[in-house]
């Protein structure tokens, strides 16, 4: 039997095999990730190739996990991974106890996972930790077949791991049916984005050519083919190996000519089966693969020996395949052939037997399969509880897309006449289905379900409006959401708590719409309402933030700041960790955002990070707070510190938007340092995460790509990145757009300066148009927005000037803009260019020297290698000495203090001030607290800086905190 069942040799794929192997193993650097996606029509040999490569890689010492995605739409989240782990565990021999216990621990983790507040991100982290333990330092390969049926959670996991966020050396090999990609498949976009990365290959598996077809057929037949037979097989198979193999087998067995199509081949084989085997094949077709042996036995009800004989017959006729975990049909074509063979009643009876067998025994995908079989058995009453259980099971693993499908199935079942009479809480089902749809981004569906729920009654008008508003806001339909919140506030049955909630959320919504005055009004209203309700801290925090920001935008920053600080106090007193965390987040965002009080913002963010970690919210909120701190530190020029903070934040292995934010922050540092390899790696990681969706971060990504390309002298790449960015950004994101336009103009100016690349006049014209548009729009924007834009527009003007005479005054203006905002890096860049422009005019050489020295000092302090070297090049060319005139006195003094109490030199008053600085207060706030003028505080602060030998509030705070603890 074996000779007939064994697959034919692999023909015509030797080169492919080699290149896949090297892409997944040999070419992967230590600690990096790689992926190969094989696409091709069904029967072209994808599964075969996966198996072959898997074996090769296993022999080469890799840990290979193999899973298959399922085509039942109601599968469960992460199913392919769970299946792969179980298979792997079953394959492990007893000598691998350590690996085995790691596999079981990971499987146990899945079993024990509960839908906690940390959500899906934490699950991803735990999975990657688990895989780490299983790999034990060996390369890990995840092989996934039928990826076109992958569930959303697994897709996210793949992107997370491939982006390197799991801190795992991992390769992914996956097969996708090309036919599926022709439809509107989500993988299409994912593959378009991924295929541009160096670590990813998308290989199209083409049919065999004529020669390979003949070779394969000859191998199967066991002798060379006649020219006519060869021609016939080539014509009929079109080079599809699966078809070639089957045709050749018929030819060998003398059945040639009987079967024109593959369909007929299989039909003939099914007909030839003995009766028990016939039953077995049909049973497997009705089951969810793989069908376990015990389950098949119960479904067909044959005695053991007869069952085995029947299975053997199915395998011998090449309709079934068997593996350790159960039986499968040999190919989808078999399923299609079998589908028309059974009467509906026969099929329903099979499903019933499956459902009955599964009811009495736990199995993989238990509830999902139960629901599936009971439904197809025509037993909605019994299917319903299983569908509900499956939905809850999916929610437990944060698979809201799958949960939504199970809830929807449950609703359909509940509507069937058989169930009608029974007491089903239809409103409850509707509510849960709507919530799941909302969580997985099916906004329209969530709203439809909510309407149905409204008609069913059982929900107060106010609660309904609030929920509808929430769904609408999530769908980005702000105007409608606003109306709903208003209606909620007007509803008669609104509780005071609900009213506070609606007002707070409305305020937040208005803030995002840029209607600051309205937002402020609503926020005040919300605060009043919340004051009268116990336990409404969350509303207070939210409304305070909306008020704080709206005040900041309306140019009363102090009032706004005070409100947000008060919210933090209230949250601390009330003690709910999430409220405290949110309050810190808002405060840090306010300071580093519109208020541009960066140093305090950084201090608050770092203090907040410590605090939320204590409260057990490290993964989510600590990560976000540290991202804010990193970006603030970057801007104030504390790069070394920023690097430390970002590394600490990434230790939590964040996912999604949080991860993107941090990777971009780290990349910004790498671009500044000129560490091209590190920057490239982070950019690819961001692109990998974004391939799964999320357009908001694309422009910062492209801006960094352009910046990096310019340091490499690749004007073409910089241009491409900017071009793409310009066509994909909304013109109301003025800040982000302004930065991008500057990069574009700088690329053209540098092309001009290099004299090797021609300036793209069309690009320049377009960029200037966009810059003008940005300037126009920002005139109407709030002050803080305008401040950000003005800096970049000054750079834009100066770069345009560089294309035409290079006016030093334009650069001087840019220097002033960035100095005013206290951003040393762009200020240093502008000084370099100003000096360049002055030297080109041979005027004010002394000023140019001074500018260069200042820029040099800043650039060196930052560690900005490419900028430093540009400054040096210019200085050498202009014979300007970059040496400092005054000796550095800081070092000795600092050495003296070390070891002793660093605060000893401070007066009592200065210590008081420093304590307040370390809390993140501004000078004005410290003044208010200590009843002295803001100016006096400024004097104290500068004395403190002198005595401590520091230059920033962050450094001073660090010393204070260190000594206070010691």
């Amino acid at each position: 039997m074996a000779s007939d069942v064994d697959t034919a040799p692999l023909v015509g794929r030797a080169d492919l095999l080699k290149s896949v192997r090297s892409a997944l193993l040999d070419d992967v650097a230590q600690g990096h990730t790689a992926a190969v996606f094989l696409t091709g029509e069904s029967g072209v040999g994808k599964t075969r190739l996966l198996r072959e490569v898997g074996t090769h890689l296993r022999d080469a010492g890799a840990v290979v996990l193999t899973g298959t995605c399922l085509d039942i739409g109601d599968a469960s989240p992460l199913h392919p991974l769970l299946q792969a782990l179980r298979r792997f565990d079953a394959e492990l021999s007893t000598s691998h106890t350590r690996t085995s216990s790691a596999v079981r621990a990971l499987l146990r983790m899945f079993a024990e996972e509960t839908a906690g507040p940390d959500g899906a991100g934490a699950l991803l982290e735990r999975v990657s930790r688990g895989l780490h333990l299983i790999a034990e330092g060996r390369p890990l390969v995840l092989v996934l077949d039928d990826l076109q049926w992958v569930d959303r959670s697994t897709r996210q996991l793949l992107l997370y791991l491939l982006a390197g966020l799991g801190d795992l050396q991992l390769s992914v090999l996956a097969a996708v049916r090309a036919e599926s990609l022709q439809n509107a498949h989500p993988l299409r976009r994912v593959l378009t984005e991924l295929r541009r990365l160096r670590s990813v290959r998308v290989l199209d598996l083409a049919p065999l050519d004529r020669a390979a077809t003949e070779q394969l057929a000859a191998e199967v037949v066991g002798r060379p083919l006649t020219p006519e037979a060869a021609e016939q097989i080539w014509q009929r198979s079109g080079g599809n190996p699966f078809v070639i193999e089957e045709l050749a087998r018929d030819l060998r067995d003398g059945r040639d000519g009987l079967s024109d199509t593959l369909r007929e081949i299989f039909l003939a084989r099914v007909d030839a089966l003995p009766q028990p085997a016939h039953a077995v094949v049909h049973a497997v077709a009705a089951g969810v693969e793989p069908v376990e042996h015990w389950l098949l036995a119960r479904v067909v009800g044959l005695p053991e020996t007869e069952l085995i004989e029947a299975v053997r017959a199915g395998v011998a006729h090449r309709l079934l395949v068997g593996a350790d975990d159960g039986y499968r049909l040999r190919h989808r074509l078999v399923a299609e052939v079998l589908e028309n063979e059974l009467l509906p009643a026969e099929r329903a009876a099979l499903h019933r037997r499956y459902a009955e067998a599964l009811t009495s025994a736990e199995a993989e995908l238990h509830q999902a399969r139960l629901a599936h079989h009971w439904r197809l058995a025509g037993e909605p009453v019994r299917a319903l509880p299983a569908a509900v259980a499956a939905a809850q099971e999916a929610e437990r693993l944060h698979g809201y897309a799958e949960a939504h499908r199970h809830w929807s199935a449950a609703l359909q079942l509940a509507d069937s006449p058989a169930v009608g009479a029974r007491a089903v809480d239809r409103a409850d089902l509707l509510g849960r289905a709507a919530e799941a749809a909302h969580h997985c981004g099916e906004h329209a569906r969530a709203l439809t379900l909510l309407e149905e729920l409204a008609r069913a009654g059982g929900m107060s008008a106010c609660a309904l409006h609030i929920r509808r508003a929430r769904y609408l806001a999530a769908a980005g339909r702000s105007a409608l959401a606003e109306t709903e919140y208003r209606r909620a506030l007007e509803a008669d049955d609104c509780t005071p708590r609900e009213r506070a909630t609606a007002a707070a959320h409305l305020a937040e919504l208005l803030l995002h719409l840029g209607r600051y005055a309205d937002a402020g009004r609503r926020a005040r209203e919300a605060l009043e309402l919340a004051a009268a309700v116990d336990g409404s801290t969350s509303e207070v925090v939210l409304a305070s933030a909306a008020l704080g920001f709206s005040e900041a935008y309306l140019e009363d920053p102090d009032a706004g700041l005070a409100v947000v600080r008060r919210a933090l106090d209230i949250a601390e007193r009330a003690g709910r960790p999430e409220d405290v965390a949110c309050a810190y987040l808002h405060l840090a965002e306010l300071l580093t955002g519109p208020l541009n009080i960066l140093e305090e913002g950084v201090v608050v963010a770092r203090r907040g990070a410590e605090r939320v970690a204590e409260l057990g919210l490290g993964r989510t909120y600590e990560t976000r707070l540290l991202a804010i701190a990193t970006n603030g530190l970057f801007r104030v020029g504390q790069w070394a510190e920023a690097e430390k903070v970002v590394a600490a934040a990434l230790r939590h292995r964040p996912s999604g938007a949080d991860a993107v934010e941090l990777l971009l922050a780290r990349c910004r540092l790498s671009v500044g340092y000129g560490d091209i390899e590190a920057a490239d790696r982070d950019l690819d990681a961001v692109a990998t995460v974004l391939a799964g969706g999320g357009a908001r971060h694309v422009i910062p990504l492209l801006t960094l790509r352009a910046g990096l390309a310019m340091w490499q002298g690749r004007h073409d790449l910089a241009r491409q990145a900017v071009q793409r960015g310009l066509t994909e950004s909304r013109s109301d994101d003025v800040g982000i757009l302004a930065a991008l336009v500057w990069h574009g103009l700088r690329a053209e100016a540098e092309a001009h300066a290099s004299r090797t690349v021609a300036v793209d006049e069309t690009a320049v014209r377009r960029l200037r148009d966009v810059a003008e548009r940005v300037a126009r729009k920002s005139e109407k924007a709030a002050r803080p927005v305008r401040d950000v834009v003005d800096g970049f527009l000054a750079l834009c003007d100066a770069e345009v000037g560089r294309l035409d005479g290079n006016d030093p005054d334009l650069w001087a203006r840019s220097v002033a803009e960035w100095d005013r905002r206290n951003h040393p890096y762009p200020a240093a860049y502008s000084r370099l260019r100003q000096a360049e422009a002055l030297l080109a005019r041979r005027s004010r050489v002394a000023t140019a020297g001074k500018l260069l020295r200042e820029a040099y000092r800043t650039a060196q302090g930052l560690g900005a290698v490419p900028l430093t070297s540009e400054i040096r090049t210019l200085a050498t060319r202009a014979r300007v000495s970059l040496e400092e005139r005054e000796p550095a006195r800081g070092r000795d003094a600092a050495a003296e203090v070390a070891g002793a109490d660093e605060l000893a030199a401070l007066t009592a008053r200065e210590r008081e001030v420093l304590a307040a600085v370390a809390e993140g207060l501004t000078n004005r706030e410290i003044g208010q607290r200590l009843f002295i003028s803001e100016r006096t505080i400024g004097v104290h602060v500068s004395h403190i800086f002198d005595k401590l030998q520091v230059r920033t509030r962050v450094q001073a705070s660090a010393i204070y905190l260190r000594n206070r603890r010691g």
Partner: protein, 256 residues
């Protein structure tokens, strides 16, 4: 061995199609290069029916690109993704045709088959391409785009408005259309659709210009159900193919 699908420019076209453009400027670049190759394809050369379509499509995509630069659209993120995804389907069809794959959409193959003659007049040829591209490719491109942006096809949304703006561009750029006879290009195509297969059960006139959008919404609703999805695909393919053949028949010549 039989002659390669693309004759003397086969290698060049295969190389070009190996690249997958990921942004609108790259799509324009791609179409420009393709145009240069198509007009070198014997026997029809300059009058190659596919070149007629490609030229029109290039003009339209260039206008879209200019529109993106000029702030013409409300949601450029959506529109640029849609444009790339839309074009990708045309390039996919060309790739499948290059491989002589039976999977080549019928909507497209009826035009591709005419590359070797007999010659069809430029306007009906371009129309056949527009037909395949709008009536077959566009709904799927819309669904993929929405899925990627974690958004949905909602009537009256910013995306819907931008989408209709593209229709306007199509209408502006179709040359020599007898306006007295037919108001708009899109209307013509949809009217013909109605004659072949009344898919809209009475909604036809209301939604004529929105056919692809309606179809996208339909596909959106069944996108998790592979069987229903596939059924929808073959339905759209057959309808578009029937219309395409009609446009390329002697009857189509009346357009010009």
């Amino acid at each position: 061995m039989t002659e390669p699908v693309w004759g003397p420019v086969h290698r060049d076209i295969v190389d070009l199609l190996a690249d997958h453009p990921a942004d609108v400027p790259a799509v324009v670049d791609h179409l420009t290069k393709l145009q240069d190759l198509l007009v070198r394809l014997p026997p029809l050369l300059d009058s190659c029916p596919l070149a007629d379509f490609n030229k029109l499509y290039l003009t339209i995509t260039t206008t879209v690109l200019d529109g993106l630069y000029d702030d013409r659209f409300v949601d450029p993120v959506f529109l640029s993704r849609l444009d790339v995804e839309f074009a990708a389907r045309y390039f996919d069809a060309l790739r499948l045709w290059t491989d002589s794959s039976p999977g080549t959409p019928k909507a497209w193959s009826c035009l591709f088959e005419r590359m070797r003659g007999p010659d069809a007049r430029p306007l009906p040829s371009a129309a056949a391409g527009v037909n395949a591209h709008i009536n077959f490719d566009l709904p799927f491109a819309l669904v993929t785009t929405f899925d990627h942006l974690e958004s949905e096809p909602v009537d009256g949304s910013d995306q819907h408005r931008d989408y209709l703006e593209i229709n306007n561009i199509f209408a502006e750029k179709i040359p020599g259309l007898r306006r007295g006879y037919l108001e708009r290009w899109q209307l013509l195509i949809d009217m013909l659709n109605g004659e072949i297969d009344d898919w809209y059960q009475g909604e036809l006139v209301e939604y004529t210009r929105d056919v692809a959008w309606r179809n996208a919404q339909k596909i959106w609703r069944c996108r998790h159900d592979p069987t229903a999805h596939e059924r929808e695909r073959s339905r759209l393919d057959s309808t578009a193919a029937a219309l395409g053949r009609l446009l390329l028949s002697p009857l189509g010549a009346f357009l010009q």
